[in-house]
């Protein structure tokens, strides 16, 4: 009986640290869908990743940074067409408004994947970590897709 009491006490005490654990980072209620990375063209050092960011929260979510293991650098860029001219520029952030959806898509905002590693040519999937203002992180596994049709 004494042993049972002691075991119960140890178990209860072992739960105590949980009461002092830091509260979880405030999640901006984000959902990420339809994410994919375009398989790099052989010999090219760059490619791009796309996805749909769905913010179901009451506050704007601000994407600041992207990280991954299969390229040296990940940046947020945007492409625009004006008077038949293509312009690509780097963005400091992407704002996903409260209760709305923002698409990272070909011909628009996208994640530039720079100095790609060979693993992107051979793997079927890669991981990306999206870092939002406030410190919230979302790590996702996304497919590497060969989207271009060869003729």
């Amino acid at each position: 009986m004494k042993i049972v009491k002691r075991a119960f006490l140890i178990f209860t005490l072992s739960l105590l640290p949980l009461c002092y654990a830091a509260p979880p980072t405030e999640s901006p209620s984000l959902r990420i869908e339809k994410a994919w990375l375009k398989k790099p063209i052989p010999g090219m050092k760059m490619t791009a990743a796309y996805m749909t960011l769905i913010n179901q929260g009451e506050k704007d979510a601000i994407l600041l940074e992207v990280k991954g293991d299969d390229a040296e650098y990940y940046e947020i860029h945007t492409v625009s067409m004006k008077n038949g001219r293509m312009k690509m520029r780097q963005l400091k952030e992407v704002v996903i408004k409260a209760n709305s959806t923002h698409q990272l898509k070909p011909g628009g905002d996208h994640i530039m994947v720079i100095q790609v590693k060979k693993t992107l040519l051979t793997s079927k999937e890669t991981s990306l970590t999206l870092i939002f203002k406030g410190g919230h992180k979302e790590t996702i596994r996304i497919p590497i897709t060969k989207s271009m049709e060869k003729k």
Binding site: I41, M44, A48, K87, M88, P106, G107, I114, S147, K151
Partner: protein, 199 residues
């Protein structure tokens, strides 16, 4: 009386025939002159993987030219992919009947070998060309193609290249027939291709 009726009928028929012939000839002329590119285009000299290309090398087949750069991960591959899709939709046999040419204006970063590799990713029939600054400047001026190197200060890319995103359709003699920003939805593109490639 009967003879008179026949003559009137012949007169009406003849007038209608001549008018329609005149109308259709004018229509074709109008279509061909809608986009007058006679002041653009002409000879050029660019470097391919294994030889120097001039306009002469493209003659004998209609050509479609697209200007971009090989480090462009988004708009250029999307455009070349759309060109493939558009031709598929019109007639898949046309792929081998056209010179599909990708010209990189990024003379700082791209080499003929690299551009050829990039272009052929979209199909073995693609030709990839680039050149020195002088060669690129001369051609882009002649074909009214805009390009500009833009520094990206905080980016590891260092710079990007703003450029015209447009398809140039040349006939088998190397003359520009028309240019298109959208080959998928612009019906004039399919009409033009059918006209120049259908027997």
């Amino acid at each position: 009386m009967k003879k008179k009726q026949i003559l009137i009928a012949l007169f009406i028929f003849g007038t209608a025939f001549i008018s329609s012939k005149f109308y259709f000839e004018k229509k074709v002329q109008r279509e061909e002159h809608t986009s007058n590119y006679s002041h653009l285009g002409g000879d050029f000299q660019l470097e391919g993987k294994s030889k120097t290309y001039t306009l002469e090398d493209l003659k004998g087949k209609p050509s479609i030219l697209y200007f971009g750069f090989a480090s462009c991960p988004d708009v250029c591959p999307l455009s070349l992919s759309k060109l493939n899709k558009a031709i598929d939709k019109i007639n898949p046999d046309f792929h081998t009947l056209i010179n599909k040419v990708f010209i990189s204006v990024d003379h700082k970063r791209d080499t003929p070998k690299k551009v050829q590799k990039y272009a052929q990713y979209f199909g073995d029939s693609f030709i990839g060309l680039t050149g020195s600054k002088e060669q690129i400047d001369k051609m882009t001026k002649a074909y009214a193609v805009y390009y500009k190197f833009v520094p990206l200060e905080d980016s590891k890319m260092e710079y990007t290249v703003d450029h015209t995103s447009r398809f140039y359709v040349l006939d088998q003699k190397g003359k520009i027939l028309n240019t298109f920003s959208d080959v998928i939805n612009d019906k004039d593109f399919s009409k033009l291709l059918k006209r120049i490639l259908s027997p």
